[in-house]
Amino acid sequence: MTIFGYRIPMMASLLVWCVAWEIVGRLDLMIMVPPFSEVLRAAVDLVQTPSWQSATVTTLRAFAIGMALSIVVGVPLGILMGRIKLADELLGMWVSIFSSAPLSALVPVLMILFGFGEKTIIAAVFLFAIWIIVLDTRAGVRHISPSLIEMAKSYGATKRALYVKIILWAALPEILAGIRLGLIRGVKGVVIGQLLVAIVGYGALFETFSRNFRMAEFWALTIILFAFALLISELIERLEAKVEFYAGAR
């Protein structure tokens, strides 16, 4: 970013918004917006409470299990669809529908199916994350150079070797991109799931804070969630950059 010829680092804009928030908060215009400094103080206090810690453990566990499931199911499904026309024709429409549908509407259905507990949250993460992983994996497999497949065949690769040594690796950049987008959607899934169930993890905390107008803590929790989503997306991006070197070589 450049202002009046001076290069300003990107983080500076964040600082400007924080200051703006602080001023608006100090003016005491709305009960919804406490000063930013108060939010920060609340965040520091919040992370020390046992209720936040146990909520975090619950949330992270549901998120991790849901993500693991969607990767374990999504990647093979995407590879199957990328390789086998029949599978693609059978499943393609559904994957497209689910990947663009407003999935929040389905969470109540999940509650009926899985009850008011962790299972519903896991199912929500899975439902939110899997489709983009399937679609990106499929796209990655589709884009593998045909000569790479021919090469494997001409040197007598077994079916297993073809998938494990060629297809999985050749599609890896797209698979990782899918997982990164899936993780971001998974965060949405875990939050929406918990908000709707409202008695588990962060959902329960959000419920408590907003009901009692504890806005500082409410915003603190929101910021922690945002930071978490950014952090994992950043981590996967680092991993992607490592495999990028061969994405360009295809």
């Binding site: 021919e150 090469m151 001409s154 040197y155 007598g156 040594k165 050749a170 890896l172 360009g248």
Partner: protein
């Protein structure tokens, strides 16, 4: 369709006795397009045979049928007297776009054919190192394909094909994605490798000069449908300085003769 083969001129040679690859009555269509019609062809052992023709004459299709990568609609392919329909260890393929694993080093790429055949790591790497040296890439073992030039990448492809110790090497326009200077150097290396490696080479190209320069035998294919129009055996002494071949009268005459034959197909 043997009678489609025109045989004339001083370049005519008798039918070779020892054919390692025999193509009998091979036809192939893609939908309504007839790519190959009734191809009968023998490839003599230990020689370099080029399949030459304009685009659309089915030369790559024929090579891939021999490789077992494409199924013919009719006809048979036999290698060492045995009919084949799938890829086998007696044939190795060199790809136009190199087909290297971008995530693997030169060493692993060269050893990859052996890896797929289940050879132990230490042994396959020893063999791979040897052939990396043979194609002039010693010192590049730990580089990745994207760090190499086009010519060097194709050397990796060639080393991979040599490593599996196949009798027949099938090369699909291996130099078309390589720049001109590297191509010249590579062609010289190929002539040298052919004398040291004692293998049969089947080489697809659309370059007349390239075919005449390196081949013992040139099979000219005509397009739509792909058929054999002429077989030429250039009598060029390749033991001399490679640069002299390009000025050799016989070389120039043969190039001209082929050009006259192919001219009619250029639109």
């Amino acid at each position: 369709m043997r009678n489609a083969t025109l045989r004339k001129g001083p370049t005519l040679m008798p039918e070779p006795v020892d054919a390692i690859v025999e193509v009998r009555g091979v036809s192939k269509s893609y939908g309504n397009v007839e790519a190959l019609r009734g191809i009968d062809l023998d490839f003599p052992r230990g020689k370099l045979t080029s399949l030459l023709g304009p685009s659309g004459c089915g030369k790559t299709t024929l090579l891939k049928i021999i490789a077992g990568l494409v199924n013919a609609d009719a006809g048979t392919i036999s290698v060492n007297g045995r009919t084949v329909s799938k890829p086998g260890p007696e044939r190795a393929f060199v790809f136009q776009d190199f087909a290297l694993l971008p995530w693997a080093t030169v060493l692993r790429n060269v050893a990859f054919g052996l890896e797929l055949r289940g050879k132990a790591a230490a042994e396959r790497e020893k063999i791979a190192r040897h052939y990396i040296g043979e194609v002039g890439l010693a010192g590049f073992e730990d580089k990745y394909p994207h760090e190499l030039s086009g010519g060097m990448r194709q050397r990796v492809g060639l080393a991979r094909a040599l490593s599996v110790d196949a009798d027949v090497l099938l090369l699909d326009e291996p130099f078309s994605a390589v720049d001109e200077q590297n191509r010249r150097k590579f062609q010289e290396d190929l002539i040298r490798l052919r004398t040291t490696q004692n293998k049969t080479f089947i080489f697809v190209t659309h370059s007349i000069e390239e075919a005449v320069y390196i081949s013992d035998r040139i099979v000219l294919l005509s397009p739509r449908p792909g058929r054999i129009s002429q077989i030429i055996e250039p009598e060029i002494d390749r033991s001399v300085d490679p640069d002299r071949i390009h000025r050799d009268k016989h070389y120039l005459d043969t190039v001209e003769e082929i050009w006259q034959g192919l001219k009619q197909y250029v639109d």
